[in-house]
Symmetry: none
Subunit: 219 residues, 4 copies
C-alpha cells in the first residue's frame, strides 16, 4: 500500500502497531485487517472534503458513516482524525517528484515549483492540503510527522538542486541553504495560506525563479 512496505499488516503510518516483540516474525493471529476498509475510509474523507466545510465539520462519526464503517474500525487504525488526515493527504500526494539534474539548475527549480503549483490548482488537493496545514499548525505533535512526510522530501529535492548549483558555481555559496530554500518556496506558501488560489498563473514558477536568481535590485 504505502511505498515499498510489503507486509499486509503494516499499519498505515506506524501508529497503533502491536505490542512489538510479541510475535517477532509470524503473521499475527485472528482475522487480518481489511485493506478494502482502509481504502473506504480514506476515500470517505476525500469525498467529504469535496463537499467543502471546515475542519471541525469533518467528524469521525461522519467519516465512519460515509465509509460505511464502524467508528472503532477507524480508531483501531488511527489515533484521531488529525492523523487520519495526514494519511488521506498522502493518498493524493504520491506522484513522484519531477526528475532533476538533467538540465540547468534554473530549469530544475522551475520544475520543482511547478510541481507544487500543480497541487495548488487542484481543488481537492489544495483544499485538503490547506486543512492539513491548518491542523498541523495547532498540533505540534503532528508537526514532525507532517514535516517528515510531506515537507522534507520536497525540501530535499530542492536542496540537491541548490547544492548542485553551488558546486557548479552557478549559485552563491554565502547564503545558507535553509534560507535559499525558503526564498523559492515562500511565495507559493504565501498564496496557499491566504486562500489566493487564483493567484497561481502558469508562469509563476518561472517568474519566481528568475527574480530570486537575479535579484530585484536594478542593475
Amino acid at each position: 500500500m504505502k511505498g515499498g512496505t510489503v507486509t499486509v499488516r503494516d499499519t498505515p503510518t506506524g501508529w497503533n502497531s502491536e505490542p512489538a516483540g510479541a510475535e517477532p516474525r509470524g503473521r499475527p493471529r485472528g482475522r487480518p485487517r481489511s485493506e478494502a476498509v482502509e481504502q473506504a475510509i480514506l476515500e470517505g474523507v476525500l469525498r467529504l472534503l469535496e463537499g467543502g466545510g471546515t475542519l471541525s465539520s469533518l467528524t469521525v462519526e461522519g467519516i465512519a458513516k460515509a465509509a460505511g464503517v464502524g467508528k472503532a474500525t477507524i480508531y483501531r487504525r488511527w489515533p484521531g482524525k488529525e492523523a487520519l488526515l495526514l494519511d488521506a493527504l498522502a493518498t493524493l500526494d504520491n506522484d513522484p517528484l519531477p526528475e532533476t539534474g538533467s538540465g540547468s539548475v534554473r530549469d530544475d527549480l522551475v520544475r520543482l515549483i511547478e510541481f507544487v503549483r500543480q497541487r495548488g490548482v487542484s481543488k481537492r488537493e489544495s483544499e485538503l492540503l490547506r486543512l492539513v496545514t491548518s491542523e498541523v499548525m495547532c498540533h505540534p505533535d503532528l508537526s514532525q510527522q507532517y514535516h517528515d512526510r510531506f515537507i522534507a522530501p520536497r525540501r530535499e529535492a530542492l536542496r540537491q538542486v541548490l547544492v548542485r548549483g553551488i558546486d557548479s558555481g552557478e549559485l552563491r555559496d554565502d547564503i545558507d541553504l535553509e534560507l535559499l530554500g525558503d526564498l523559492f518556496a515562500g511565495p507559493m506558501l504565501m498564496r496557499t495560506v491566504l486562500h489566493q488560489w487564483a493567484a497561481l498563473p502558469e508562469d509563476l514558477p518561472e517568474r519566481i525563479v528568475d527574480a530570486v536568481l537575479d535579484g530585484v535590485r536594478k542593475k
Copy 2:
C-alpha cells in the same frame, strides 16, 4: 483597533451591530455594553492561551469562566470564538508599524521584516498568531477579515517602500509588486507555519533582504 471610530457603542469589529438605520444618531436605549466586560473577555482569552493548548481546547465556556462572564455576553458581541480570536489578536497587535521613507530602501525593508520577526519571538503573540492563522485557513469567511486587519496594513507598508524603490530606480520595475512582496515576506511565513520559532536569528531580516535584493546567482 477600532481605527478612528468615535462613538462609544461601536461593537468591536462591526459584528452584531444594530439593525442600522433605526436610530440614525441617537444613543441606543437600554443599558450600554460594558467596556470592562469586553476587556475581561479578551484578557481571558490571552490568559488561557498562555497556558498553551490547541484551538479546540480554547472553549467559549472556558473563556466565559476565565473572564467571570456569562456565555451570552460573549455571544452578544461575537458570532463565535473564531471572530473573538481575531479581536484578541488585535489587542496584542496594536504597535505602530515602523517608520519608513527616512533612509535607504534596504533599511526600510529590514525594519519591516524585523517588525514581523519581533512578533514571532514573543511566545504569547506567536502562539496566538499561529492559532489565528490556522483558524483562518479553515474559515474562508474569516479570511477577508483577517487579511484586511492584519495582512493588508503590513503589505501596504511594504508596497510603499517597494514603490519608492522602483521610482528611485533602486529596484527593477519588471517584477509585479505582489510577487515582490511575497519574496520578502515568504521566508518569515514559512518559519511561522512550520513551528520553527527558534529559526528566527537576529540577523535574519538583513540576510533575507540582501539575498532578495542581490539575487542568489553567482556573479
Copy 3:
C-alpha cells in the same frame, strides 16, 4: 382596584410593599406606580394564555414584551411569575358568589356547583385555573395564598349552606363538614385535573347534589 382597598399605592397582593413604616401616611415620593401598567401586565398574561401553551412557555420576558413593559417593572410588583399568575387568575375570578340562604339547601348547593362549572366551561378561565392549580401543587409556599384567595371563599360559602342544612335537620350531623364539602366539590375537581373539560354537562350540578344527598345505595 382589589376589593375595598382604597389607596392607590397598595401593591396588588401585599407583596413587595415598601419597608413599611418609613412614611406612615404621606404620599410616597417619586413617580407613582402606574395603574395602567399593572393592568397591561395582567392582560398580557391573559392574552398569552389564550394562545395556549404550557406553564414553562409563559415566560416573564414574554409577558413583558406582550405588555410593552420592562421586566423590572414586573419584578417590582411580584416576586415571580407564580405570584403574578395568582393575581391574573383573580382578575377573572371576581364575579360575586351566588346568593344563598334564600331557598332550599339543595338549590343552594346546585347553585354553588353550577358557579364552579361556569369557570370550567370558559376556555380562558379554565386554562388559567388549570395552570395555576398545577403551579400551586409544586410550590407549597403559594399553596396558602391560593387557598385563602380562591378556595376558602367557596368552601366557606359551601360550609354555610351545609351548616344551615344541618341546623335545619335536612342534613346528617354525623359527617364532618370537611368531608361533606369534599363530596360535593370532588367531582368537579376531578374533571378539571384530568382535562375532561367536555365532561361538564349542564345538569351535572343537579346530578352531583342529588346523588350525594340521597346516597347511591339502592333503597
Copy 4:
C-alpha cells in the same frame, strides 16, 4: 411496570422505539441499552425528589449527574423530563391493586380507597405523585399517557366493583358510572391537590364510602 412484556429490549414506555418495520423481530444491532443504566436514572430521580424541591429544580442535568450518566443517555430513552417522571412514578407504583369481588361491595370500595390513601401517606410517593399530577395538568400530550397508565387501572377496578354492586341490586342504577366513580375518588384527590397530606386519617376510606353509599340527607 412494563406489564408482562418479556423482551429485554422493550424501551420503557414505548417512546423512542426503532423505526418499526425495519427488523420485524430480530434483535436490534449494536450494543444493547443497559438495564442497569435505566434503573440508575430512575433511582436518581427518586433520590433527587426526596431532597424536596419544585419541578423546575429537577433538571435533566441534575438527574444525569445524580445517576452518573450522560445527558444523551437520558434523552435516548425519554423525550424529556416529563416523560421520565411518568416512568419514575411507575417504579413506585407497581404494587398490585387489592383483590376485589370476594366480599361485600362496601368492603371492596373501602379497600380500593385505602389503597389510594396508602400512596398519599408515603412521603416519597406522594411527593412524586403531586409533581407528576402537576406536570400532567400543564402538558395535555402527557395527559393520555398518565390516564392510561395510572388512572385507568384504578378506575377500571372501581368500575368493576360498582357494576357488581348495580347488578346485585346493592347500588342504584340511575347514576352514570363515571359520576359514581368520581364521588368515591373525589375526596382523596381533593386532599392531594391541596397539600392536605395530614388530612388522611385511617378511617377516612370508611367514612367516605359510608357517606356516599347512604347519602348525607337526614333520614
